[in-house]
Symmetry: C2
Subunit: 676 residues, 2 copies
C-alpha cells in the first residue's frame, strides 16, 4: 500500500550506503531531533500529516502489552499536539496512519538478550513500524513520537527510513530511594522518562543506612522499624515491575550488604558486628555499622531474605551492593578479629570477600546472577559476579580483563552535578577499556547512570536526572561515532521539552520552587539570575557535614538545574564578541537588572538571604562585562587600575556562595582580559 515510497527507498538506501553513515547523520542534522540518535537514518521527501484522523493499526503478533503501548502512544500524541485523540485503534491495520507489525513474542522475563531492534518507515500517507519483538516496537514508538513536530502546515512527521538497534545491551539508571523517600508515582514517571530515551534497566537501590524500602513478609521489622513508614508494599513492587515491563525496562533490585545496612539493624540488631541498639541513620556518608560475617545465623537470615526477594523480583540479576565498608566494627570486635585470624583473613577486604562468596552462592542458589559494586573485585571473588564499576574506569577494564562481566557507572554519576558533556564523553569502550581484547570488551555489558539522593527529594529529583540522563542514554544506545557535542546539546533541549509533555517535572517544579522562594513576588527576576548559576560540583555539599534526611531542600541551590544553558550560550557568544555584541549587551543588562531587583527583597527573605552575595557578584560581573565591551568597541585600552579591580572582583565571584557557582565568570574574565 505504500508502493510509491517503497520504490524510491531503494535509491535512498544505496545512497546512504555510498556516502556512509557519518554523512547520513550529517545530512539530516538540520531537520531531525532524535535522542538517542538512531543507528541509521535516511531522510526522504515530504511529510506525514498528524491530525484528528490519526489511527494506529496493530498487525502480526499481538499481546496486551502492545495494545496498551498503542493506547499510550495515542494519549501522548494528543498531549504533545493538543489534538483530541481517543479510540484511535484501527480495525484494519493497513488503513492506519501508523501501522505496527510485531513478529513474535519477546522473552517472558526480559533479559540482556532481548531483541530491541526496529525499523520505522515514514511516508507521506502512512508510517510503518516493524520489529521482531514487542520491546522493539516500544523503542520504535518512542522514535515515532519524537519525530512529530509542528511546521507551517501543521503537525506531522518527516518522511524518513530508520533502522535502529542499541549498541549496548545494558543501559540503566540506578535510583537511590533510601536517603530520601521516592513514592511510587515518582518511580513511575522516572520509568516514563527512561522509556522515552530507550533505557532498559531500572536499578532500584532499595536499602541503605537511611531506610529500608521494601515490605518483607519474612522479616517484617525491616520495613516496620527501618523505614519511617516509607516503603513499597510487595503489591506496589509488582505494580512497578509490571509498569516497567510495559515500557521494556527490567527492574534489578539492590540490597546493599554488608555495609550501608544501619536500617536493617534497627529491627534486627543481631545481624550487626557492633552491639547496638541502632537507629535509622539521618546523616549522609560512610558509617560503621556492618553485618557480622562470622556468624551462621546472619547467613541464614540473608539466605531466607534473598529467597523471598528472588521471588518478588523476576529479573535474572540481583544486586548485593558491597560498597564502602570501612571495617571499623570488624576491627573493634575481638571475636571477629579472632575469626579472621583463625581463617587466615589478613584484611577486612579479605573478610568482605569471604562474606561475598557466601552471599553470591545464595543468590545463585535462588536462581539469580549476582552483581556487586567494584569493591567486591578482590582476589577470590567468584567468577560469576557482575562488577559495577563506580570508583573509576580502571575497575571496569580490570574486571573485564579478569574475566568478569561488568557495567560502567564511573563518569555517569548524575548527583555530582556535572554538565551533560562530561557524561557524554565517557564511553565504556574507550579510556582504560580501549586496550582490551575483543573478547574482554564483550564482557562490558553497558552502563548505568547513578542518582544518589542526599540532595534530591520528589520535588527536585527530576531536575537532577533530566535532561542529562538523555545524553548518557545516547552514549549507550547510539553508534560510537555519534559524538558531536553541539548537536547533542541541541537534541538535549528538544528531549527536555518532550519529557515535560510526558509528565516529568524538571521544568514545572523548578517554577514552583522559585515561586516558593520569592514568596509573594514574581519569580521572573530570580529565574533570570538563577539561569547562570549551577550547584557546586562533586561532593562539595557532603563536605559541609551538616546535611541530614530532615534538612529542607528548599533553597535556591536545590532549585537550580545542574547545568546552565544560558551560561553555555553566553560563552559561545562571548567567544565572538564583535559579531554578538548587541546580544551580549542585552543579556548582561538583563542579569544586572535582575540582580538589582532582587537585592532588596533578599534581605527580607530567610531562604534568599544567603544568595545576596551572588546577586551582588552577578551585578558586578555584568557591569564589568558591559564596560569591557565599551573598551573593546571603542578600541581604547582599559586602564590598568580598572583591569586589576575587575580581576580581583572575578576572583571573588568565582568562589561558591550558598553552594552555588556563577557560570559566566570565565567568559567575563576573557572579556576583561581582551579589553586590557
Amino acid at each position: 500500500m505504500i508502493l510509491t515510497r517503497r520504490k524510491s527507498r531503494g535509491l535512498l538506501v544505496s545512497l546512504a550506503v555510498l556516502v556512509g553513515l557519518a554523512a547520513t547523520l550529517h545530512g539530516q542534522e538540520n531537520t531531525l531531533n532524535l535522542m538517542p540518535q538512531p543507528a541509521q537514518v535516511t531522510l526522504s521527501q515530504g511529510r506525514l500529516p498528524i491530525d484528528v484522523n490519526f489511527r494506529i493499526g496493530l498487525a502480526g503478533y499481538e499481546e496486551p502489552r502492545l495494545q496498551s503501548a498503542a493506547e499510550r502512544l495515542i494519549t501522548r500524541l494528543a498531549a504533545k499536539t493538543g489534538i483530541p485523540l481517543s479510540d484511535r485503534l484501527a480495525t484494519d491495520a493497513s488503513q492506519a496512519t501508523l501501522e505496527i507489525e510485531c513478529d513474535h513474542a519477546g522473552e517472558a522475563v526480559q533479559s540482556l538478550k532481548e531483541d530491541e531492534s526496529y525499523t520505522l518507515e515514514v511516508g507521506v500517507r502512512q508510517a510503518h513500524l516493524k520489529a521482531p519483538t514487542p520491546v522493539g516496537v516500544l523503542r520504535g514508538m518512542e522514535t515515532f513520537l519524537e519525530l512529530v513536530d509542528l511546521d507551517a502546515t501543521g503537525f506531522g512527521a518527516p518522511a524518513v527510513e530508520i533502522r535502529d538497534r542499541p549498541r549496548f545491551a545494558w543501559r540503566g539508571l540506578m535510583l537511590d530511594v533510601s536517603r530520601h523517600w521516592m513514592p511510587v508515582e515518582v518511580v513511575k514517571r522516572t520509568l516514563d522518562g527512561m522509556a522515552a530515551v530507550k533505557l532498559n534497566v531500572f536499578h532500584w537501590h532499595l536499602s541503605d543506612d537511611q531506610g529500608f524500602r521494601v515490605e518483607s513478609k519474612r522479616f517484617p521489622k525491616l520495613d516496620q522499624m527501618g523505614s519511617d513508614g516509607h516503603y513499597y508494599t510487595q503489591e506496589q513492587v509488582k505494580e512497578v515491575i509490571a509498569y516497567a515491563r510495559d515500557r521494556g525496562i527490567r527492574v534489578v533490585p539492590e540490597f546493599d550488604m554488608p555495609g550501608h545496612t544501619t536500617s536493617w539493624f534497627v529491627g534486627y540488631p543481631e545481624l550487626a558486628s557492633g552491639p547496638g541498639p541502632y537507629q535509622i541513620e539521618r546523616r549522609f556518608g560512610v558509617f560503621d555499622p556492618v553485618m557480622d560475617p562470622t556468624r551462621d545465623e546472619v547467613y541464614r537470615f540473608i539466605d531466607a531474605f534473598i529467597e523471598e526477594m528472588a521471588v518478588l523480583f523476576p529479573d535474572e540479576y540481583f544486586h548485593v551492593g558491597g560498597d564502602e565498608v570501612n571495617g571499623r566494627q570488624w576491627k573493634s570486635n575481638a571475636r571477629i578479629q579472632a575469626y579472621m585470624q583463625e581463617h587466615g583473613l589478613r584484611s577486612t577486604a579479605d573478610l568482605q570477600t569471604s562474606f561475598s562468596e557466601r552471599v553470591v552462592e545464595m543468590v545463585e542458589r535462588h536462581g539469580k546472577k549476582p552483581i556487586g559494586w567494584d569493591e567486591v573485585l578482590h582476589p577470590g571473588l567468584p567468577q560469576n559476579v557482575v562488577v559495577q564499576s563506580w570508583r573509576g574506569p580502571r575497575s571496569l577494564a580490570a574486571a573485564a580483563h579478569q574475566g568478569y562481566m561488568t557495567i560502567l557507572s564511573a563518569g555517569y554519576y548524575l548527583d555530582l552535578m556535572e554538565p551533560a558533556v562530561r557524561h557524554y564523553r565517557v564511553d565504556p569502550l574507550e579510556g582504560a577499556a580501549a586496550g582490551l581484547t575483543a573478547e574482554e570488551k564483550a564482557r562490558i555489558l553497558g552502563g548505568e547512570a547513578c542518582m544518589w539522593v542526599e540532595y534530591a527529594d520528589p520535588t527536585n529529583l527530576d531536575s537532577r536526572i533530566w535532561p542529562r540522563l538523555a545524553a548518557i542514554a545516547e552514549r549507550l544506545w547510539s553508534p560510537e561515532e555519534v559524538k558531536d557535542v553541539d548537536l547533542m546539546y541541541r537534541r538535549l533541549a528538544v528531549v527536555n521539552r518532550e519529557l515535560g509533555f510526558w509528565g516529568l517535572t524538571q521544568q514545572s517544579n523548578r517554577f514552583v520552587m522559585l515561586e516558593r522562594l520569592m514568596e509573594m513576588n514574581s519569580p521572573h527576576s530570580l529565574e533570570v539570575l538563577d539561569s547562570i548559576l549551577e550547584p557546586v560540583k562533586g561532593y562539595s555539599r557532603e563536605m559541609t557535614g551538616h546535611y541530614t534526611s530532615f534538612t529542607p531542600l528548599n533553597r535556591l541551590v536545590d532549585a537550580t538545574p545542574p547545568e546552565s544553558n544560558a551560561a553555555r550560550e553566553f560563552t559561545a557568544l562571548a567567544a565572538n564578541w564583535k559579531t554578538n555584541e548587541a546580544e551580549l549587551r542585552k543579556r548582561l543588562t538583563a542579569w544586572r537588572e535582575s540582580a538589582a531587583d532582587l537585592a532588596p527583597m533578599m534581605k527580607q527573605n530567610a531562604l534568599l538571604q544567603e544568595d545576596a552575595p551572588l546577586a551582588k557578584n552577578v551585578a558586578a560581573l555584568a557591569t564589568a562585562g558591559l564596560q569591557a565591551l565599551d573598551y573593546l568597541e571603542t578600541g581604547q585600552h582599559a586602564p590598568a587600575a580598572w583591569v586589576t579591580e575587575q580581576l580581583g572582583m572575578l576572583d571573588g565571584a568565582a568562589k561558591p556562595h550558598a553552594e552555588l557557582l556563577i557560570m559566566i565568570v570565565p567568559s567575563i574574565r576573557r572579556l576583561v582580559e581582551a579589553a586590557r
Copy 2:
C-alpha cells in the same frame, strides 16, 4: 498553655469591637493575604515559626475524616514550605504546634445546615483551631495554611485571632463534563481547589447532548452508547463523593431533562419526541432533540433512572436541568400537538411545566429535593423546586418573591472569560434582590459559579476556572462589606500561587501549551506577548459555529488566561504616567521586542500563523505608547497627522484577531490622546 496570649487577646478583641469590623479589616491589609477574607480578624504581635518540628494534635471529637485532613495539611505544608514533614501527628495534642479541637460529629450527609464556623488563634508558641464540626475544622485548616508565609526569620504564621463563618450556605461550582470529558483526576484537583477557597457544593453536570457520563446499571446503553467510553463508573462516582466529603464539599448531580438529552437517545431513541436514530452531538449550541413528555413509558424510564441515581448520590438535592428547550420536536410532532390540545397546554413552556411536575414528583418520591434551571420558573411549577437563576438576576428575585428557594448563577459564568472584578461585584442580595423582604431574601441560598466546557479540556480547564473562582468564593463566604477591588486582586494573585502548590495546573499547563506552540523555540517571547492578551468574551466563539468536541484546543487563545494582569497593571501605571514613565517604557519596550522576535517564526508555524496580526498590532501599540511618552515628556504637542494615524491604528488593534483581544489598547489610546 498559651496564657500570655490569652491575656493580651482580651484587649485586642475590645479594640476590634471599638474600631469596628471595617477598621479591623483595613488594619491588616498590608499583612494578611487570606481569601476568602474571614468574617473577623484581629491581628496580634509576633509570629509562630513553622519548621521541621511542626506537629498537629487532634483533641475532642475524633473521626477518620479529621485524621486524614490532618495528614493532608501536613503534606500540603511540606509542599508549600519545602520542609520535610511526615508522621507529624502529636500524641499529646496540647504539645502540638497546631492544636485542633473539634466539638462533635457533623451531619451524616452534609447539608445546607452544616455548621462551618471555626475560630483560629495563632500565638507565638502554638496555634489553636476550634470548631463545632469537622467541616468547620476543614475550613479553619485552609485558613491556617494560607496564613503561613516566609519572612526574614523563615516560614511562620502571624499571631492573629480569627472568628469565621460563611455568609451563604450554598457556595458552589457547576462543572460540565459532557462537552469535553474530564477524567476523575481533573475532578479531584478541582475539588482540592474548591476546598482551598471554602466552596461547599460541587454541582456535577453529568449529561448533555455531547455525552452521558455516568454508568447506569439499570440502563446500560446510556453510558455504553452515549459516552464514547468516557464515563464515570459507579465506583468512581462513590470515590469522588468520598473525596468531596473529606473536603467538606457536597456533590449535587445534574441530569439535564427534557432537553440537552441527545446522548440519552443514542441508546434509547424511544425516549425522544422525534423519530431518530440519534448520534452523540459533536457541535455546540441548543439542539432539537427533547424527551417526549406525553408517553407514560418515558416517565417510567425516568422514574427508574432517578431511583438508581438517588441511591448513588447521597446529597439531599437532585438537579433535573430544564434549560434551553426549543420546543421544535414538540411542535413538529402531531401526536404531541394533539396531547397538548387535549390537556389544555397552550405553549411548549406549559408542556415543559407539566413534564417538570411529574419529574419533580418522582425526585421527591425518591427522597430528594429537586433543582432546575430558571426556565422551569413558569406558572404551575411546584413550590418545592429550587430555582437556579442563570439568565439574569431577575429570575432570582422573582423566584424568591414567589416563594421558591433559589441560587444565583447569573454573573458567575466562568466560561464567558470575564475579569474577576465583574463576578466579584455580583452580590446575590444586591441588584434585583435588593428590594426583597427579609423573608424573601432568606430564600436566596447562595450562588454557584458555572463552568461550561465547549472551549476547555483537561489541559486548560484549570486556567478557565482559576483564580477567578476564588473571587466568587469570597463573595459568597465573606461579609458583604468585603468589596475592595484592589485588595481582592492582590489576594487573588496569592491564592493563584497557592493553588499551584496544591496541584492545580493553571500556571504549569499554560507553560506546557506555550512550549507546544513554540515548537523548538523558547516560549519566553510568546509568554510576554500573550501576557497582555485575553480571549474574546461572552459567546463570541460560539457565534463562529465551527467548533465541535473534536476541535483541537491547542491555539494561543486556548492557552491565554481569561484575564490579563499585565494589562491591568499597565492601565494603573499609565493613569499616572509622570510618576511611572520609566516603568511604562520598560514594559512597552519588552512588548515591542517580543512582537519583533515572534513575527518571523509565526509564519513557519501552522498554529501561530493566525496570531501574526496580534504581534504586528502589539508592536504598533508599543511604538505608539513610547512615542506618546516622548511627546508628553518633552511637553511638545504631537502632530495632528501622527495622532490621526495612531487613532486609526488603535481602531484596528481593538478588533479581535484569532479570537484574542489586546488589552492595552484603551491605555495606549489615553496616552495618545494625552499627547495630542
